[in-house]
């Protein structure tokens, strides 16, 4: 069977760097996260553990008990605004990461305003319409800023269907590209977590300039 070629194909060439060198670079960086659901909350947790300098969070929603199946919140936080609950949780991981939470619904104007100083942006919306909106907004307004999108992570199993592709200069897409959430195919912690961490991994490989050695 013909293997689909992804430009992100690993060549297993690792640029090595010790943890001090990694932290030294990452603490100077700012990352914007658009949406604080399953992708955004888990990606933010991974990036906080990596000592990113500043994380800008945006979401308008409240934590619902059903979110606990996959999102980085705790039972006692049900009913709280997601951005503030997540800012608290990230501060427990590390008080040294600056978190800037925005409790608002993102449209093109808000994206351009709050993410303008970010080194890169993580797309973590749930609706496909919103994914399309941020891709169009960033491609037009931030052509030099990498945008890392999550696309297709519903259900369970099928580990190896999840991959990362690079489209054009600055658009990276993580996911299986096909599995859409539904009643019978809910988003669950493992696959959502895989894609969220893939987005974080893509982010740091861009920020650490690893892309040159892996032809990312």
């Amino acid at each position: 069977m013909k293997q689909e070629k992804t430009i992100f194909e690993p060549k297993f060439i690792f640029k090595t760097m010790n943890i001090k060198e990694i932290f030294k670079i990452l603490k100077t960086k700012t990352i914007g996260i658009a949406g604080c659901g399953g992708l955004g909350s888990n990606c933010a947790a991974a990036l906080t553990r990596l000592g990113i300098g500043k994380i800008i969070l945006a979401d308008f929603d409240k934590v619902d008990a059903s979110n606990l199946s996959r999102q980085y919140y705790f039972y006692e936080q049900v009913g709280q605004k997601k951005v503030f609950a997540l800012a608290d949780n990230l501060s427990y991981i590390s008080p040294y990461v600056e978190i800037k939470p925005y409790d608002l619904k993102l449209g093109p104007h808000e994206i351009i305003t709050i993410f303008k100083d970010c080194d890169l942006i993580i797309e973590a919306f749930d609706l496909a319409e919103m994914k399309q909106m941020i891709i169009e907004t960033c491609t037009e307004s931030f052509p030099d800023k990498p945008l890392i999108v999550g696309n297709g992570m519903a259900g369970w199993g099928n580990n190896n269907s999840i991959k990362t592709s690079k489209i054009g200069e600055n658009l990276y897409v993580c996911g299986d590209g096909v599995s859409e959430i539904s009643e019978e195919l809910p988003p669950l912690a493992p696959r959502v977590g895989i894609v969220a961490n893939m987005q974080a991994n893509t982010a740091i490989s861009i920020l650490l300039k690893n892309e040159k050695s892996t032809e990312l």
């Binding site: 430009i7 973590a124 496909a128 319409e129 491609t139 999550g150 096909v178 859409e180 959430i181 988003p187």
Partner: protein, 67 residues
Amino acid sequence: MNIILNNRPDSFEEDSLTFEELIKKKNFTFKLIVTKLNGKLVKKDVRSQVSIHDGDDVTVMHLVSGG
């Protein structure tokens, strides 16, 4: 013409096609897609005007809900 469609080679009898024609021809029926020509975004409202020619690198990406 021969093009690269979603990272794979593909060929068509026509010398050129608009994005709208390509989407119809390939039967991409997804509701939400992002289209790119040689890495540059082609917005939804100009898909009937932007043409694809031999040697172009074309992306038609299906967006699915979830996150």
